[in-house]
Subunit: 286 residues, 2 copies
């Protein structure tokens, strides 16, 4: 067995160890060899964007809760969003709870929400940084972070905690549509070159919240979210990347304005690093 | 101005960008140049451990809640621990909450705790993997993950979300004490070579929970936790690394037994990657 002709695999495919399961379904540990494959995939994605002069950022796995509220994610995806809580009362109150601080105990019944949540996507770090800015367009960012989504199922590849690398573009509507179109095909070609039988599919989930309804209507003419999917044993098409056009949703939500004083439009291309690694290891015929 | 004679800085110190603040105090974004310094520090720490044959793992920023409960961290550090919650009720219930899903809204009043928390230290990933095992000793792991601690203050270097690299050793009491002693000085020498005016200080915080009282008494003869500190503008000694001996605390908590059938002892050496990077950028005289 040889690996796909991707140039990404530095070891034979059968020598790359798989992620290790943990007690929490969908949460995995990454052995060194798998981690090196992820690093190689990251490097290859960076290289795809080299000529475009992205400003590169790395985000932590948590993000300001207010950012996610403004983005509309809390309203739209409450089941997936992980909010961070802690015990905020005094030592005296804790002395009454702490004897319950075992696996079955209800020590957490007084937890209070904090000012951070787990980042559901890497691009939110960028929109938060650009909030309130009047920018010369187009502006380009490359951003990576660990993301969390509280998925209900945990089949292979359904990671709840995973790394996402995104290219983010802020500009006019026309620029965003053209940029997104180009990146959709750049990503498709790259994934094909990795030996992955990738398909482009229209994503059916609307964007955010009430505005989702509006956006859904727009999708008839102007598809907002394309997913690049690879079949797995369990799933006819699991998304490994996506190319998205947000219209002026984030420009409006974060008060980011272009030279004309209007909310900027935005687009992004996202890559799921572990999912791509797992698809590469599975190979085209597995 | 030239950088410290560390060999770690690939650019002049004044060319390495600082982390960018976000809306959440103590939560920072990392520009590319800073990220490359972190990567160089990681590589240098890995090299320190090269001869010892550590099994290398990378952990996600979340970890099974039960793991942290078993470890005693929930009982001992409830103010620092970030628990992950989400909305677990049905769509009908959400329709009544979602109009509150704004920055000031109380949309989160029905959040329920999940089965994961934010990892407070990287070594817990290792203890969870080894749980229930009968092992040949000594066993060595190198593990890195994003960690979270809900620190009350947010002076420079007080990151709530940060990366920690740890070497973890499981063995007999004598082996652990000797290993910890050796790594304390390996870490000290390495940090000095980076140009950092590091000092070794006995950590005053006890280990976990009720057992903390026991361990505190032991500290008189056998210091359990040493910190390697560097003075900053605001702080006479901020820890950038630590060397710890846990006795059989984790062996007992996780049912990890040695060849004699008794709970193994453990030790670890932890490095705070961003804190070391910030100290290197500050330089010895800043």
């Amino acid at each position: 067995v040889t690996g796909p002709e991707s140039g990404i695999l530095t070891s034979p495919v059968e020598c790359v160890p798989s992620p290790l399961p943990t007690q929490a379904a969908g949460v995995w540990l990454f052995p060194d060899g798998f981690e090196r494959l992820v690093a190689d995939i990251r490097t290859a994605i960076d290289a795809l964007g080299d000529s475009e002069g992205f400003t590169r950022l790395s985000g932590p796995p948590v993000i300001s809760r207010e950012t996610i509220e403004r983005a509309g994610y809390a309203a739209g995806f409450p089941h997936l969003l992980g909010t961070v809580h802690r015990f905020a009362d005094d030592d005296k109150a804790w002395r009454e709870l702490r004897h319950d601080a075992t696996s079955q105990g209800e020590w957490h019944r007084q937890q209070q929400i904090t000012d951070v949540v787990l980042a559901p996507a890497a691009c939110f770090h960028v929109f938060a940084q650009a909030a309130g800015a009047a920018i010369g367009v187009p502006v380009r960012f490359a951003v990576e972070s660990y993301c969390y989504r509280h998925e209900a199922t945990s089949e292979p590849g359904r990671l709840r905690s995973f790394r996402m690398k995104e290219f983010v573009f802020l500009g006019t509507a026309e620029e965003c549509v053209a940029w997104r179109e180009r990146w959709l095909h750049t990503a498709e070609d790259w994934l094909r070159d990795l030996g992955l039988p990738v398909r482009i599919e229209a994503a059916s989930d609307p964007f955010f919240g009430t505005e989702g309804r509006l956006l859904k209507r727009v999708q008839a003419q102007q598809q907002l979210k394309w997913e690049l999917t690879v079949p797995t044993g369990d799933d006819p098409g699991q998304a490994v990347a996506s190319a998205n056009y947000h219209m002026h949703h984030f420009g409006k939500a974060f008060g980011i304005r272009g030279p004309d004083g209007q909310p900027v439009h935005s687009a992004c291309t996202g890559f799921g690093l572990e999912r791509i690694a797992l698809a590469v290891l599975r190979g085209p015929n597995r």
